[in-house]
Amino acid sequence: MSWIILFFTCQIVLFLLPLLPSLVEWRVRRDAQPLKVVREYDGNIKHFANRFRQFLNEQFAEMAQVTGKSTVARSGRLATGDRYQLVGADGKAVISEQEIGAATVDQLVLGTAALELGQDMLYEKEVFASGAINTGSGNSFRALLARGDITLGEQCDVLRWAHSDTRFVASRRARLFGRVSANQELVLHGETRFGRMHAPTIRFGDTVPAPLPQPATRKVLERPAKLLDDSANRWLAGGDLEVPEASFHFGSLVARGGMTVGAYALVEGSIKCHGDLQVQAGARIDGAVVCSGNMTIGPGCIIHGPLVCEKTIEIGAGTVLGSVAVETTVTAAEVRVTEGTVAHGTVWARELGYVIPAANIT
């Protein structure tokens, strides 16, 4: 009898043994909380800038009173141990010999007025100015925040984020790795690399070519012989689709293959294709442009809706994306924009953004 009891006991133990971690977790409940869903964070590009501004307001409330009055730089240390320097109205940060030797400033630089920064230094902590920030060339910044304009010299890097309450200008060969935003305007010059940017107006280069002349009339786009679907004001084509030059279509176009929108064509709707998309010079699209392949936007185009591409977007000079009244988004793994282009809203390159210098336009 005892052998039978022992046998069944062993069976139960053998059955329960693999379940032991489960049973322990069930009873101890070490990981029984709901998965974290961030409800408050709304993806705002200014998220970090706003948090830093809040931090400044809490830690340096006196800065509002001393703005522009103190001419002597003051240094101190935060409760966290981080060093900071309040820069006076002269706008010259005091940089020690040791810091110059190491080419690294490891303290918060907080300008009570405008800030003038030298060149070839790495600013490991945030830089703030109540006025404008002007920098020399070859600097690297962790983060920048200014109530005035921010103007970066050539070959400067922004590692995390930068925000200007007015205007942000990046000279040639800048590298803007993180988020960059301005309340009025962003200007990027040739050979600049970027990631995520937002401003009511983003100019690539200083000058914009004159708009291309539009044709006096356009032909209505003929309905392709075979469409998979034409409901809901949308034409769905099974393969490639070509919109001829100077034609007009009211409604959306979807192609399961590639698509070409001819020069000076006008589409009052959105377009999408699964292959590569080519929009030729002077075309106008009032809706969104979506593409699973590569997208090429010719010079002088006007696109009002978002540009969403899963591979590379290349945009020609003179193209205007969105408007001041209705901002838009340009997003792709790689975004290559030629100088002379203007975008209103967000430009977001997930892997690489690059400004093609005007001299390289072929």
Partner: protein, 501 residues
């Protein structure tokens, strides 16, 4: 070594072990000694060696496919009957293998493949007009939280309309909605439905008739959206091919009891791996009926909501697909929901899903195969998705076949221990691949300890298996025989109602 790399190495090691064991199984056994050979001749026709079937057979019959079935009890089951049963068993095993491959493919894609989130970065644009429909039937416990969260979302106010669809509630739902609407003039348009067909689809159909927005977003009353959720859900509609969008559902009452914890893991597998993999592979992500939306023009083009659909979400997904519209899945558009806290509620919920899904399968499988608007890969995935709930009764039938063949047949290798192992290994109480999927999802979610509950999911799967089988049997036999109407069943809520003011 990073977590991801460690996980990859563990996976490779497990795969190598599996290959090694398979190669051993295929290895030709050593020549038996003369005495052993004499003994073997006297041995019975079937062997208990589970790998015996993989040993090399005679020329042209190496896996024994042409072995003749030989009934041990011909008066009870003839050899011909057993042959038919054998081929049915083959069919079941093939189906189970197909689903297994599907689960592994999705999981490996999710772990190592390129991830598609094409609309996630759409931050600015000419946002379309949106009406948020909040389906509510006796939702006094949860409706206030949902409406308050919706009032706080980041979306242009002039383009947003919130419409609680109060479907014949008999509790305090109406009072709560009216109070919140009065406190926020011009922002909430209540729709109190007092008559008409019961069911969410019928209620949504009536509400849609009152709406002229471009986009309809649908939430259940127990959902509490975050501030940025609405923009994320609307962004895919800039794509003119997208007809519907689906966000991710995250259980809020995870810690209530063992059932909610198991459902939490199951939901992770379903969304974090299954839905996202389908999005990555341009297959058929499924509109889930809540935390999602539909383009109104597309909805009108397919004939609106089908009020007789038990699973209006699956129904809509397939009707859109058949007309050339895509459903986009947004894995990072997360929203809390309540999951059932008691087994009877869970059983009723999954029986309803099962009936609705099977209803969609009967309606759309043929059209899907014949459609010229759907790619081959979408057809394959769409068919497998339609068949998900049909697999439970098929699995049970496979077990029954294997057991009967095991006892009744004396000859064929497949009816031996191997057949039982096939079914037990691949499909016992679900499917090991599904567990791999859940494990990967929990890993991707970054939750470390809850994965230990995985073995207990067997019991949850067993309950689901039986519930779905019963529901399918009822649907096919009794509902059809007695022309019973399929009825919508509301899932219970667990939050406490707000106090009367």
């Amino acid at each position: 070594m990073t977590e991801r790399r460690r996980f990859a190495l563990q996976f490779i090691a497990a795969f190598a072990g599996w290959c090694l064991s398979l190669s051993l199984a295929f290895a030709t056994p050593a020549e038996p000694a003369p005495a052993a050979a004499a003994l073997a001749k006297a041995a019975p026709a079937f062997s208990l060696d589970p790998t015996s079937a993989l040993h090399k057979k005679s020329q042209g019959n190496w896996i024994g496919v042409t072995d003749q079935i030989q009934s041990r009890h011909p008066t009870v089951l003839s050899s011909r009957t057993l042959t038919v049963m054998l081929y049915l068993l083959w069919g079941v095993i093939a189906l189970v293998l197909v689903y297994t491959v599907r689960h592994y493919y999705f999981t490996i894609n999710r772990l190592f493949g390129a991830q598609r989130h094409p609309y996630l970065d759409v931050d600015s644009g000419n946002w379309p007009s949106v009406t948020v429909l909040v389906a509510a039937h006796n939702e006094q416990a949860v409706i206030a939280d949902s409406l308050r969260a919706l009032l706080d979302v980041d979306y242009p106010r002039e383009r947003l309309r919130i419409m609680p669809v109060n479907d014949r509630s008999t509790d305090d739902t109406r009072r709560i909605i009216d109070e919140i609407a009065a406190a926020n003039p011009g922002r909430i348009t209540p729709f109190h439905r007092t008559e008409g067909k019961p069911g969410k689809a019928a209620a949504l159909k009536d509400a849609t008739a009152l709406v002229d927005s471009d986009i309809l977003i649908v939430f259940d009353a127990d959902y509490v959206p975050g501030r940025g959720l609405l923009r994320q859900l609307v962004a895919p509609f800039f794509d003119p091919e997208v007809g519907a969008v689906m966000g991710r559902v995250v259980p809020l009452n995870t810690g209530s009891n063992l059932l909610t914890r198991l459902l939490d893991m199951e939901r992770s597998g379903g969304y974090q791996v299954d839905q996202q993999a389908r999005m990555n592979l341009a297959l058929v992500p499924q509109y889930g009926g809540t935390v999602g939306g539909v383009r109104r023009s597309a909805l009108e083009a397919i004939g609106g909501w089908h009020e007789d659909a038990l699973a209006e979400d699956t129904d809509l997904t397939y009707r859109l697909l058949l007309k050339g519209w895509k459903t986009a899945y947004e894995n990072r558009s997360e929203c809390y929901e309540e999951v059932p806290e008691t087994w009877p509620v869970r059983v009723r919920q999954i029986m309803r899903w099962s009936k609705g899904h099977n209803q969609a399968a009967f309606r759309y499988a043929g059209g899907l195969l014949a459609s010229d608007k759907v790619s081959l890969r979408e057809k394959l995935d769409g068919m497998l998705l339609l068949g998900v709930f049909a697999m439970s009764p098929i699995l049970l039938a496979g077990w029954a076949l294997a057991i009967i063949l095991f006892y009744a047949d004396a000859n064929h290798w497949l009816t031996g221990v191997l057949a039982l192992f096939c079914l037990m290994s691949y499909s016992a109480l679900g499917n090991f691949a599904a567990f791999f999927e859940i494990g990967a999802a929990v890993y991707l979610d970054g939750s470390r300890h809850r994965i230990r509950l995985m073995p207990l999911n067997y019991f949850g799967f067993l309950v689901s298996l039986l519930s779905i089988t019963i529901a399918t049997f009822n649907q096919v036999v009794f509902d059809w025989m007695f022309k019973r109407k399929l009825e919508w069943d509301k899932t219970a809520r667990y939050r406490q109602p707000e106090a009367k003011t």
